[in-house]
Point group: C2
Chain length 409, copies 2
């Protein structure tokens, strides 16, 4: 038996954090648990029949292409579909060397870490922020500067304050600002137009790159769309990540990156040694779904169902939480996406409370998981896309009982 | 415009090498070129109809599962199929915590680099060796010790010699021995049983891990199978990579790793931040193909076609190369896999020769691409699985003309 393997692991391996959500999701697979935990689409809405048809088409028309290795850059026809779509939906004009297909946006986050972060470099992130991003950057040795959020998203005015306290050398080690502008994960808040512009100004002034991650952009249920930071900024200042996990299905792991040719080229070279290419088979299916307009139709359906679920979630929160009469208990009212964010009285701890929630057969994600500094003890993320309407009602009822049990008399 | 981005890239990004094969494959997509370059399966053999049927089944039976996120460890049913298959085919007995599904074996190589290699650590590799492996390890800052091959695979007797010259501190920085025992890529040679045992002895003595990469193991056309190093060694000494790229199709990017629970757990944590999970959709299709035995039938067909192609390739090499009357021109006679390896007279340079080959509309991979130290100038890799029989004849005829043009009078 080989016992000394522990000495062989890289420093990195000893530092990489286990994802609290991936671990949590393993725990809560029992059907009797009502889960507000995952960032998981409603499985009853998956377009299985459309996928079956698209698969049949590509397997009959070009099996030798979709079952073979493909270019690391991504299938050119899929890229052209996405370029047209970006122009149509977001008024973003890019060429084929400014886009890279990735194995969903988690891979893009990993590759961004790989090409930008040396151990000890800094990334500016939201407090809270998407933990898959924090995990990917941390795995390359990133350190973080945290910027709080309010109902208009990241408090970009606080970035300058933080920067003022840093020496020039320290600012140089800041590799990018990681921001999720639309219906942020986990907080559900949206970065206002004014703040987007301000963020770009700060990035220019201090020569910082912006990493814009926008997985939910097309899932807007309320108010008007705000232009992507990519569109508002000068070319090269922003790298933007999109994914099809929420608007199509997570089970195919498909996403893409927009950036300057220089950055895309570096990402391509890093991807060559990471997975050679994203599966041409699943790229082909997505391309087929985009070409015929089937995916756009599907997204309309998603938006209408999720809009109702969001509305319902907010209603039952009022119904069960207001009677608790806790002035410090509040939650965000997201314009889109999959999540809302709940803040409990400061003395409550959602990590300690979690076993009590599990006893009542409900689950959420503790807010501290989204804070690189482990703060946010009294917060939690609640997902409303996955549970059924009945489960939303029953689950929030039970959650209100759990919270009631925490109240200090 | 943002011009200073170049200063922001990580040291790693500035060191990662562009894959010569990925770049080459982009150049030679013209249909008039006869390519012996890629490690590419024969596209006329892809089991498109079986895939269509398997897709239909999984989409009708459990769309909510195969289109959703899955565990990072891999789909449990697929893992159970692979465990049964390993026991049946290789007599390897493992449990479900000793296996991880990966996005093909390139991801496994990347993750092995991620969890084992700190910048400056050493990996022992074949001279030549698979360049995707070299690239992945190099991207984490690995340095290499190269061990030449002969017709029985890696000259493991030379490892001890090399180690003797190193100080204890330097040996400690050797993270693993990377070996491709069956029909090695690129050389096509197979590590003998005796050498496998010797390799294990050396690894034990110097406390080294063995990384066994065996993508072609099931594609044997000649002679008897030799047990995997994983089976021959004590548990924990070996991590073994398998892929379905060659025996099923590359376009789904599916592979798996066998290792001790400890190593698999580290790989899982690293994979969490790399791509969350390998697509459950493609895992479901593979599982379906394995369950019904369809894949095993398919592999039998592959073996019979590739056996003929190998035979034909060796015949036309005799036909066209022997008349050149060059005693220093020779090639390996692989028992399986996709490649053979040609050595030209020492004064020839396959890199300089390449433009002349392209003029004659043929392509190969220059041998130096597989040597981390850029040696092997007079060697090349020739693939026989992709071209048709007619192309093999015509292509080798043209290659003999190209080589004839290099002869020093």
């Amino acid at each position: 038996m080989y016992n000394s393997i522990g000495d062989k692991f890289s420093k990195r391996a000893n530092e990489i954090r286990r994802s609290p959500i991936r671990e949590l999701l393993k725990l809560i697979t029992k059907p009797e648990i009502i889960s507000f935990a995952g960032g998981i689409p409603d499985p009853t809405l998956f377009p299985a029949y459309l996928i079956e048809e698209a698969t049949k088409t590509i397997l009959r028309e070009e099996p030798e292409k979709v079952l073979q290795y493909g270019p690391t850059e991504g299938d050119i026809r899929l890229k052209m579909e996405l370029i047209k779509r970006q122009q149509r939906r977001n008024n973003i004009k890019i060429n084929e060397d400014e886009i890279l297909i990735t194995t969903a946006s988690q891979q893009a986050l990993d590759l961004m870490g790989k090409i930008f972060i040396d151990s000890g470099d800094t990334v500016i992130v939201g407090l809270p922020s998407y933990l898959g991003g924090l995990g990917a950057f941390h795995s390359y040795g990133a350190e973080f500067i945290g910027i709080p959020l309010d109902e208009d998203g990241m408090r970009v005015d606080l970035i300058e304050e933080k920067l003022k306290k840093l020496k020039k050398e320290q600012i140089k080690k800041i590799k990018f600002i990681y921001v999720i502008p639309d219906f942020q994960n986990p907080a559900g808040v949206t970065l206002s137009l004014e703040r987007r512009k301000k963020l770009i100004k700060i990035a220019k002034k201090h020569d910082l790159l912006i990493l814009e991650d926008t997985p939910y952009r097309e899932l807007r249920y309320w108010n008007k769309s705000i232009p992507p930071i990519f569109l508002l900024a000068p070319r090269g200042r922003v790298v933007t990540l999109f994914t099809f996990s929420k608007v199509f299905c997570p089970g195919m792991r498909l996403g893409y990156v927009l950036g300057s040719e220089n950055v895309i080229d570096r990402l391509v070279v890093a991807k060559q040694s990471t997975d050679l290419c994203t599966p041409p088979f699943t790229q082909g299916i997505l391309c087929e779904m985009l070409k015929g307009g089937a995916l756009d139709e599907h997204i309309k359906k998603l938006v209408s169902v999720y809009r109702e679920k969001r509305e319902y979630m907010l209603n039952v929160l009022n119904k069960y939480m207001l009677p608790l009469n806790l002035p410090d208990l509040n939650w965000t009212r997201p314009d889109g996406g999959l999540f809302l964010w709940m803040t409990l009285p400061a003395y409550m701890d959602t990590e300690l409370m979690f076993p009590r929630a599990l006893e009542k057969k409900i689950a959420y994600v503790k807010g501290c998981a989204f804070h690189y500094d482990n703060s946010g003890k009294n917060t939690m993320r609640l997902n409303f896309s996955y549970p059924t309407m009945d489960s939303i009602d029953e689950g929030i009822r039970r959650l209100s009982q759990v919270i009631a049990g925490e109240i200090r008399k």
